[in-house]
């Protein structure tokens, strides 16, 4: 039922199966196109037999901007998962995992130290998903999200910054065991 291929802009007209799901954020056009422009091979989709997009991953390869070079929060060359989502009807088939693995292959090919991502602390499903693939919490970003996804009385929600070391990080220098205990402010992540 599915094909994996590189994203193309026309796919934006076929996102409904993924993006009408409340857990999937819809961005401005320039956001999607920025990724497609700069990292086209890190923007991959899964489509069904009718051409509907049933899953996609959007990622990038970068280091922190140079001005932060001497900050303790400086991130060396790494891959970042900006979004990964699978349509409800296509979940638990390994699509999310395959998309993520593809990005990890690209990260290794580009000699990245690690792959990282942010996830809402309440998104247990996604956290399990990442943990099962070898990601662990590196730090907690307090009040990273502007609103809470499940509790409307809360004005913000924390994020886990999760990481998986890549081949380059032989000594596992870029992960930690007790990441849940390391809290940072949103102003410390760029």
């Amino acid at each position: 039922m599915a094909n994996f291929r590189r994203f193309r802009p026309d796919d934006l007209n076929k996102l409904s199966k993924c993006n009408l799901d409340p857990f999937t954020e819809t961005y401005e056009l320039s956001f999607y196109l920025q990724y497609y422009a700069k990292w086209p091979s890190l923007f991959q989709v899964a489509e069904d037999q009718h051409g509907n997009i049933i899953g996609y991953i959007m990622g990038k390869l970068e280091s922190s901007p140079d001005v932060y070079r001497f900050s303790e929060h400086y991130l060396p060359w790494h891959a970042h998962i900006t979004a990964v989502t699978v349509a409800p009807e296509a979940r638990r088939l390994g699509i999310g995992k395959l998309l993520t693995e593809q990005l990890e292959v690209a990260a290794d090919a580009n000699d990245a130290w690690f792959v990282d991502l942010f996830v809402r602390v309440s998104n247990h499903k996604a956290i399990t998903f990442y943990k099962n693939m070898g990601y662990s919490v590196f730090r907690v970003v307090k009040d990273y999200y502007g609103e809470h996804s499940t509790d409307p009385t809360l004005l913000s929600e924390d994020a886990y910054d999760m990481r998986k070391p890549m081949k380059r990080d032989v000594k596992k220098e870029h992960v930690r065991e007790d990441g849940e205990k390391h809290e940072v402010d949103p102003s410390d992540v760029w």
Partner: protein
């Protein structure tokens, strides 16, 4: 932000502090004074430019002209100005770009001149960026050529490929003159050919070589070849050892394979497709790629379908099966996704095998290998949410005997003995879906003689499943299906254990059952796709009771599963159809269609919304603001969004795709819909329309030749239908979907209304010779009328147009085209009273009158449904709710009547203004008739709205709606029909359970009519 992109530029370093400060403070008077002084003393033309730019920031047209003149002079004298001057002028011109100043005629060429003079400067790159961001491809291409020469054979390969990409872009752009198009096409191909040869022939390619190295470079080559090269060139390269598709796959690159298979398919090159797929799939088995890298369903499908088309298809299909078998042998190592793809590939190949191979002896035709394979697939996957969609097209392909065996023998055996209740229920729901699917497949019917036992048969077929006379779909089967599905539904609802297991399931089986019941009821109600031929009134097609039962039942289900998008969207459409726009809007809002996805999804709610319920626009938030600002925001620049990012990253195919996407977005039917719907709504309430539609920045490049594209995404609808009939969304729309034709007609009609509404601006001071102005205005009016009349007629005469419009829309646009023609004649007939008015005018007015009359009569404002044979419950006589779904037609009548009235009024007003004594007597007489006709027409619409409003204001509506749904309480029950009603009643909890729903429906009707009550009728 880049330095030139319209932040105020810094003056060049040598400028003194005093002037610098004045400039950065925006102290323009001072800047003008100081710059003039410096220019005089230093004799540096830069200061002259500073002065002119500062002046242009002061008020006054003359000052601005100075700037334009200065830029013009720079272009004319062939010297190269310094870059600081160019930047200064570019900044000062920022607000005139696209209006008084065409970048490609002014600043672009200046930038190019500079970059050619100093290609080694880092600022030359900025010139390229500036030209690209202003989408001046000619200048950008020139700059890139200089840059490529300067940086040839350096490690930065981008210069070379920028040049090629831009040469190609130019060759396919309207910016290129036809004369040079060929040259650029050839140039792009040649350069790439040379690079490709270099790659093929070099033992090892260095990054400084001018060959093809990266995936983006190679894909660019094939894209250009596809567009400008020959098929033979493309194919021969595709097979080549270094640049061919297979070698790319070995490097882990899949894009080329996907793109070339598509190309080969359009050429019908099945042999090649077959070979390519075989080679590709073998790679995974041989370890040249990761094993399942290419196990996409699409590849298997292409492989199987190509195999069935090559000369020796039998052995080719054998090969497909053999390869597939090797994959299946190792599938334990694959992820679920690929396992499933392989199972589907098996299904696909089985269906592509010739019938003779499949069943040589023709015995046991029912349990064919095809049925066996479907059975095996479902055995594994019946619980998955996508199971139905996966097998749907295969089941629809089966012959009748196969269908029977599948449903009666294979399906019941699927759950193993100890399958729990949950799994059995899921299977039951799947079975219901398949039964519904079959009701849409013609193989379940057989023709029957038109006379049986001396009785003429009204049904042309007999259903092979239930043996009753039938047409498609078989009503008897559908009724039975509703009853059976309702039974299962109730079993679930009454079983705590089952209810408890639902959260662990892929999908709530009640949802599937509700969808089956809902769509069956819709079909039973007589709902047909609302195409242009469909009779006017919803209630003339449809039996209200069954239709409302469907809505009620689905609505009840939404309360159980509010998160289900498919169901929600279905209901949004049904409520729109029912005339409950405000309630439909409440259901639509939580879908949170915003930002990027609006272009493809908002037509599902907003198309025709101003004609259904203008009152929605009266809310506190402007209804379509998010949509409008999406376009204004996204399309504000001339260049495709983020295009420079793609250039600087060297993503050449991204550049091409982004450019194409941008072009389509600017030509989106949804964009036109947004502008038109808003304008129509504004006009309903006498609001002010900001600017003429033709002057709107978003319609800048749209003219009659533009093909407007419909990108509506119907993907999120549930679809139980087979491919033998129309998909469900066609049954649910208010009329034909968005189209190029309808969008153009809407655009033209708005232009016509703009012309009628044109008033010279208040502060407009007529020149000394008022007569001149009047004359020019008249000329402009005549030109516009002639153009609009021609264009409207052209689009109405496109062969496809009739099927793209509702009957009401056809009348509206036809009458508008006649009006434009009539006005043209009226205004160009000389007054001289002796000549009679040309015959054309009276025949035009005659046509207008009769077209309007037929619009009014084919759509009675308050329809009186006739009791038809076979339909049990027509609406109560003259019931006002019959009008509610017809509001879009009512809106057409109103708009047409007003257009007639305003057109005539326009002519009469001109006559009064004309000091020299007006128009021809006969013209005036004709116009007065039209004026009156229009007035009377709106009057009738007004009265109709009043009637509906008064009718809905009466008490007792709740009961009336419930009576429609369930029949009146004391009514005698007939048997089979009411088995269905009873089944629905039990699912929704009877009349009592439906009361709240009925209340919401009536409330929404009232709200809609209230909005209509405030609409201007003059």
């Amino acid at each position: 932000m880049s330095p030139y992109s319209y932040g105020r530029p810094a003056l060049k370093g040598s400028v003194d502090v005093q002037l610098q400060t004045a400039f950065s403070d925006g102290n323009w008077q001072t800047v003008v004074r100081l710059a003039a002084k410096r220019a005089a003393t230093l004799k540096d033309p830069y200061y002259e430019a500073v002065k002119i730019c500062a002046e242009s920031q002061l008020d006054g047209t003359a000052k601005k002209c100075g700037l334009l003149v200065a830029v013009d002079e720079l272009i004319k004298n062939k010297k190269t100005p310094d870059i600081d001057t160019i930047e200064l002028y570019e900044w000062a011109c920022r607000d005139f770009l696209g209006y008084e100043v065409e970048y490609a005629d002014t600043l672009g060429p200046l930038r190019a001149r500079w970059a050619k003079a100093y290609p080694g400067s880092s600022l030359a790159l900025q010139c390229l960026q500036a030209c690209l961001e202003n989408w001046d491809l000619v200048s950008a291409q020139q700059i890139s050529t200089s840059l490529d020469k300067t940086y040839a054979n350096t490690a930065d390969r981008r210069y070379m490929f920028w040049n090629i990409t831009l040469t190609f872009l130019l060759s396919i752009s309207p910016q290129c003159t036809n004369a040079s198009r060929k040259v650029y096409s050839m140039l792009a191909v040649r350069q790439l050919e040379r690079a490709a040869d270099l790659t093929e022939n070099a033992a090892k390619l260095e990054s400084t070589d001018r060959g093809l190295l990266t995936e983006e470079e190679i894909c660019l080559y094939y894209r250009v070849l596809l567009s400008h090269g020959t098929k033979e060139e493309f194919i021969s390269r595709l097979k080549s050892p270094k640049l061919g598709a297979t070698s790319q796959l070995k490097a882990g690159r899949k894009v080329l394979l996907c793109e070339s298979l598509d190309a080969l398919q359009t050429w019908g090159e099945w042999d090649l497709i077959y070979n390519l797929c075989r080679e590709a799939l073998t790679l995974g088995l041989e370890g040249a790629t990761t094993p399942f890298f290419l196990c996409d369903l699409q590849l298997w499908r292409k492989f199987a379908s190509a195999a069935s088309k090559v000369t020796d298809s039998e052995s080719a299909l054998g090969e497909v099966q053999a390869l597939l078998k090797r994959y299946i042998d190792i599938k334990d190592k694959a992820s679920e996704m690929y396992k499933k793809n392989l199972s589907l590939a098996l299904l696909e190949t089985t269906f592509r095998l010739p019938a003779a191979t499949l069943n040589p002896n023709h015995d046991n035709a029912g349990l064919s290998p095809r049925v066996v394979q479907i059975g095996l697939f479902l055995d594994q996957y019946f619980e998955r949410l996508s199971a139905f969609d996966d097998v749907k097209s295969y089941v629809a392909e089966l012959g009748f005997e196969e269908v029977k065996t599948l449903m009666e023998t294979v399906l019941p055996k699927i759950p193993d003995e100890n399958a729990d209740k949950g799994r059995q229920t899921v299977l039951k729901a799947l079975e219901c879906k398949l039964r519904y699917l079959l009701s849409t497949c013609p193989q379940t019917l057989s023709p029957q003689p038109s006379v049986v036992d001396g009785q003429i048969q009204d049904k042309a077929f007999q259903c092979r499943l239930c043996n009753n006379p039938a047409s498609l779909p078989c009503e008897t089967c559908l009724k039975k299906l509703v009853v059976d599905a309702a039974n299962t539904y109730r079993q679930i609802a009454g079983d705590k254990e089952l209810l408890g297991s639902i959260p662990r399931m892929d999908k709530d089986p009640r949802l599937d059952l509700a969808l089956v019941m809902g769509t069956s009821l819709l079909k039973l109600s007589g709902l047909r796709p609302r195409s242009s031929e469909a009779s006017q009134s919803l209630w003339q097609d449809v039996e209200p009771g069954l239709f409302l039962q469907a809505v009620l039942l689905l609505d009840t289900q939404l309360k159980e599963t509010p998160g289900d998008t498919e169901l929600r969207l279905l209901l949004v459409q049904l409520y729109l159809l029912l005339g409950c726009a405000s309630y439909a809007h409440q259901l639509w809002t939580p879908l949170d269609v915003k930002r990027t996805i609006q272009d493809s999804l908002s037509p599902l709610f907003f198309d025709r919304i101003s004609t259904l319920s203008p009152g929605l626009f009266q809310g506190t938030r402007p209804l379509m603001e998010p949509l409008r600002s999406f376009y204004s925001h996204t399309l504000s620049d001339k260049s495709p969004v983020r295009i420079w990012d793609a250039f600087s990253a060297g993503s050449y195919t991204s550049i091409l795709d982004m450019t194409e996407f941008d072009g389509k977005l600017r030509r989106s039917c949804t964009l036109m819909m947004t502008l038109v719907e808003e304008r129509r709504a504004i006009r309903c309430y006498g609001g002010k329309i900001d600017c003429e539609i033709e002057d709107h920045p978003l319609t800048e490049n749209i003219n009659d030749e533009t093909t407007l594209v419909d990108k509506t995404d119907y993907g999120p609808f549930p679809n139980l239908e087979s491919l033998h009939g129309p998909p469900i969304h066609e049954y649910l729309r208010l009329g034909p979907g968005l189209s190029n034709e309808r969008s153009h007609l809407a655009f033209l009609s708005e232009q016509y209304l703009d012309l009628l509404a044109y008033k010279p601006p208040k502060d407009y001071k007529p020149s000394r010779n008022t007569n001149d102005v009047a004359l020019r205005d008249r000329e402009y009016t005549l030109e516009t009328l002639s153009r609009l009349s021609n264009s409207l007629t052209d689009f109405l005469h496109h062969p496809s147009t009739p099927s793209r419009l509702t009957a009401g829309e056809t009348s509206y646009y036809t009458i508008l085209s006649l009006l434009a023609a009539a006005l043209l004649v009226a205004l160009s007939t000389p007054r001289s009273s002796s000549d009679p008015v040309p015959q054309t005018l009276s025949s035009l007015t005659q046509s207008i009158k009769s077209a309007f009359a037929s619009l009014q009569t084919t759509t009675p404002l308050i329809p009186t449904p006739q009791k038809e044979e076979g339909k049990k419950k027509p609406l109560p006589e003259a019931s006002c709710i019959a009008t509610l779904p017809e509001m879009p037609t009512l809106a057409c009548i109103r708009a047409t009547a007003l257009a007639i009235r305003h057109s005539a009024g326009f002519v009469l007003a001109l006559d009064e203004q004309d000091r020299k004594g007006g128009l021809h007597r006969d013209v005036l007489a004709q116009m007065k008739v039209l004026h009156e006709l229009g007035g009377k027409g709106v009057g009738e619409v007004k009265a109709a709205v009043q009637t509906v409003k008064a009718g809905l204001g009466e008490a007792g509506w709740l009961d009336r709606v419930l009576d429609l749904v369930f029949g009146e309480e004391e009514e005698e029950e007939t048997e089979e029909g009411d088995e269905v009603t009873r089944a629905v009643e039990e699912v929704v909890g009877g009349r009592a359970g439906a009361e709240e729903w009925a209340g919401r429906v009536v409330e929404s009707w009232r709200e809609g009519v209230k909005g209509w009550g405030m609409v201007r009728m003059e």
